[in-house]
Symmetry: D2
Subunit: 292 residues, 4 copies
């Protein structure tokens, strides 16, 4: 399969590498060209612009930083969507807004091209190991066409219906849930510390019983040990995703008071110098509020 | 071992039954005497008041509804603490306030009697199966004395240090975390429903990936299917525990904005007729707010 | 009129003094006896206990710090209520809980004694000038009996119906509104400062147009100039009153999300060392959150 | 003075009319042309597009619905800014974002044209009576040039410094404060109603004492009597302004938890069918939450 791959950040690079190594013919593109060199060394073709990366693709994958990047690179004149061959398929794997995903659906439909949203859970090391969780939505046949790709990239693929933007809603919901776990653990740890309870013993009891999901274990330890630097996922990115949740919720007329509360936490974190820390550093806001 | 057991609600009855069946000599007491009869049939002695249940115990277990009940039955003149033999051990398994647990510690110490707080996670059916999670705190030797009892009642016991009230802090923290899971899932499900996403597919994707803890699966399904009646854990009890969290947090000068938000949810639920429903019915408040 | 007066804090002393100076025969009592001396010098009789202060009163006024003080001094055995002559009237002017005010109503009714709740707005200097605002509730005839007293103490008396506790609800509502003004102004001032807007010019525009009530002017300036010390009304007292609002709201099944938010602010203020500051120092919490 | 006037909604029409009647030479423009006819009848010239309205102006006033309208009509190619004569002055009186106001400042500066932001408090009837409150910011000489205009339109003009966007910050802060008044009163009224207190007596006591600003009186009565229809200021407009506050706060890294809370209220109001009601109908959300 000829695969175009646009967006070689930490996530994209790890994913593209797996696809090359699995034997796919890849044409890659990244705005900062130097990031494409390691892939060239592995046998990928390096395109000089987004249109070129799309123009020979059976399947085009985009893994970009945000809405603006996707709009420019996919929807701009002469860019990826225009260049994509008739009947080819675009798999958008970026974390973008529900609204943009809907516009992308419509734009592809207008040009009789195919669009699948396939969002991912997992950090770069997970991507490198091909252990991502993937949530895919779009026409059944289109999702089916991606199976081989998803199997290279992830440990498990969930389907979310034929409306592509459902995958974006679920991705945002998942990140929202992680943030609520961070905040709720931070409040518990602050309570423990100020009540004379060893937070490690508390975390052991909680994760050893009802809260066995790794997310509690991982973030619980980061929060207790205050290992907020270096960041695994930068705080402003977490804030951006929370803003996307609030935007989607507002568009659908759904109040999400926990997301509002988290918004305040993120803003406070930004205001108090945590912009270079991990998003779990909203726990530091709680600690400061508690006088710790 | 001679065990006194006070408090034969749904949880207490299930626990007392397991202890009798494990061969312990039990003297039970409950304010409503009829609830003691099934245990008498199994061989337990039925005491006529709390003092009598305590007076011959090597270990006295209390499993009562709330602070008020514990204060009356344990601390009242002529009641359990006074009647407890010298050097005997009281294991308080009720969900009570951190503050009362501290007072109990001090009161037992004053009378040279022993006190362990051992809180539990699990519903009555879990208790009946001896599968509770137990969090125990108190002097090491005292906790050690309870091992045989805990092994009959639970699948796993966590220790939380020598300050007994730590077990109460952890119990409250655990219930708080469950409530945050309920609320966060409710917000996600409302968002899904109003965005045209199948909430079951969303839940499958989330619980099949990062949120694998049973609590997400169990409550997610209750929330999606709106199975709030009959209650597994009544909403006013959930509200009471959230109030205990807020009280403990206030006493320790720890802001817990999520607990405050949940307080508002619980009050709204009570005001809108959900007082007989399961505590997960705070999801119904979210649905109503979203016009669902 | 023979007036008993119990509670000679800053507010009570100022009020008692006005009553003596207006020619009333006053018998005063305070737990710390030295505070009664200035009133003795003005001609008041000093009682040695609460019962004595009540025993000869046509009207007994209590102006105490909190629920606990009122319970002890009014409801305790041999205390004020018991000692109060038949048909005498007790005017409770303290800021107490709605629930205690209801219990006081019932307790007085049971003993065929009369009870009016008359809460006040104004600080000690306002009390000294006889310029308090008074909100009175109780049986019409009872409120009428207090007119002469209210005219000495306040510039204006509002009546709030025949259920005495209404006066307590309104007092708590008023303090809640002041706290919302403080918090909302703090957020505006933080926004102004970080947006390069002179907060004084902002405050002038707002108080010179729609927000002409003195409370905006007074607290706006305190907040901008950060004059939180010395306190006019100590932060823990503001927090206590906010807790009373939340308690009344919970008892009535009324969610008050702004009061919950303010609770978090007060707890944070206590945790970060503002316990000796004015209650308007919750603005400092906002400033710190904004990195100011 | 030759005045161009763009935007003849309810506010703009009332303001333009006063200017014509005060003897100014007005050229008006509105996207829906019919709204210009009453002004033509009074002697105004009616332009066929925004550029024409601007092209002969000494001072151009815009009073448009939102950012998008201002961007199109002022900044679009061939539109008002381009058409404005050199050295002429644009007075932007619309409620727009702080960010757009900053961009407008820069755009005018780039073309050596003058820009003042002059935001207003008051509804259309107040505008018709020339009783608006005006907050103006910009270069001193520019603000000075507008004095005669402001005197026709308003009862009082406040200046807010030389950075034009300060006027926008203050306008948004003012609307935010009004919304906090609405919400806080709604919570008080719900508490009163469910506690058996006559809310009119409560409001009288509060507005007759500390909360004498008309905003408490006006909205208090609307809220008690539930006169949410017909709207004076439609709920979605209130929501839009609250969103502008949150945007400005996020841009400046200022957490505004009350604005977040109000956001949730507005979303709930939209979700529950209050989109055609007055913005004070967020009180209905509180009533419903309280089971009223």
């Amino acid at each position: 399969m000829n695969i175009g791959f646009i967006g070689l950040g930490n996530m994209g690079s790890a994913m593209a590498r797996r696809l090359v190594e699995a034997g796919h013919s890849l044409t890659v593109y990244n705005r900062t060209p130097s990031r494409a060199e390691p892939l060239r060394a592995l046998g990928a073709t390096v395109a000089t612009d987004a249109g070129q990366a799309a123009s020979r693709a059976d399947v085009l994958i985009t893994m970009l930083a945000n809405d603006r990047a996707v709009e420019e690179i996919v929807l701009g004149p002469g860019k990826a969507l225009e260049a994509l061959p008739a009947a080819a398929l675009h798999v958008s794997m970026s974390t973008i807004s529900v609204e943009l995903s809907r516009r992308l659906s419509a734009a592809h439909r207008d040009q009789a091209k195919h669009y699948v949203a396939a969002t991912v859970f997992g950090r770069p090391d997970v991507a490198a190991a091909g252990k991502l969780f993937i949530v895919a939505a779009g026409a059944d046949a289109d999702v089916q066409r991606c199976r081989a790709i998803f199997d290279v990239l992830g440990q498990k693929t969930f389907t979310a219906g034929t409306d592509a933007s459902a995958a974006n809603v679920i991705k945002l919901a998942g990140n929202f849930l992680i943030t609520t776990v961070i905040e709720s653990l931070a409040e518990c740890v602050a309570l423990a510390r100020k009540s004379g309870v060893d937070p490690h013993l508390m975390l052991d009891a909680l994760t050893g019983s009802l809260f066995s999901a790794p997310v509690y274990h991982t973030y619980g330890n980061l929060i207790i040990e205050q290992k907020f630097e270096p960041p695994g996922f930068k705080l402003p990115l977490g804030m951006k995703d929370n803003t996307l949740v609030l935007d989607a919720a507002q568009a659908a007329n759904v109040p999400m008071p926990m997301a509002s509360l988290l918004h305040d936490r993120f803003v406070t974190a930004m205001a108090t110098g945590l912009g270079e820390s991990d998003w779990s550093a909203i726990a530091r806001v709680e600690y400061q509020s508690a006088g710790l």
